[in-house]
């Protein structure tokens, strides 16, 4: 089975902290994505990457950055966490073909910023 693993299921951080959310996939997928999921808003794309060291902004990149130093790992960074970044964060990966059946999501990290 394709696996997308997010390092933490739950995180609680303080306002102003630097936060790292890690995502690892084991199927040699080229594409990786970070979303946040909020009630009533669905999933919103934060950043994505088509290759190592490449990144593209999604719809809501403000307050976030990403790092992809290795093909299997895509990190989401909150430089200075704020309470409005409390959310469920989902990582996904896919091969270059980009069809929906190739996308695999992780189980999510629920981040609470206090």
């Amino acid at each position: 089975d394709v696996k997308v693993t997010q390092s933490s299921r739950y995180l609680v951080k303080r306002t102003g902290e630097k936060v790292f959310l890690e995502c690892v996939q084991d199927m040699d997928h080229e594409n990786m994505f970070w979303y946040r999921q909020d009630p009533g808003l669905g999933l919103r794309l934060i950043y994505f990457s088509y290759d190592v060291k490449m990144k593209e902004k999604g719809d809501i990149p403000e307050g976030y950055s990403v790092s992809r130093e290795k093909k299997e790992r895509f990190s989401l960074i909150l430089e200075s966490a704020s309470t409005n970044q409390t959310s469920m964060y989902l990582c996904a990966s896919s091969p270059h073909t980009g069809t929906g059946d190739g996308y695999t999501f992780g189980s999510g990290t629920r981040l609470t910023v206090v």
């Binding site: 996904a92 896919s94 996308y103």
Partner: protein, 107 residues
């Protein structure tokens, strides 16, 4: 801006009935749509997709209908089962997701 939205946040059906979940989109140039199912505590899972050159696509117990004229698509689940209880999302490619419809199946 462009958006994808679902019509109802919740839907409750009786086991064995057919379910219909609706979704509207705003971008007439959209060419690829995906339906996902998300069970509690899990990430979304692919159900079925459809390209804009098709009006209908069928899978196992699921059918997606696309009406480009009114920019609407629907997911139909036949003979709904308790295991179908989940949140269902439509998505335009993987960039824009609807807010989700929570389907509850009553035994």
């Amino acid at each position: 801006g462009e958006s994808v939205g679902l019509h109802l946040p919740t839907l409750s059906v009786q086991e064995g009935d057919n379910s219909i979940i609706n979704c509207a989109y705003s971008n007439s140039a959209s060419d690829y749509f995906i339906w996902y199912k998300q069970e509690s505590g899990k990430g979304p899972q692919f159900i079925i997709d459809i390209r804009s050159n098709m009006d209908k696509r069928q899978g196992q117990r699921v059918t997606v209908l696309l009406n480009k004229t009114v920019k609407h698509l629907s997911l139909q689940i036949a003979a709904t089962q308790p295991g179908d209880s989940a949140v269902y999302f439509c998505a335009e490619r993987v960039q824009r997701f609807g807010a989700g419809t929570r389907l509850t199946v009553k035994p």
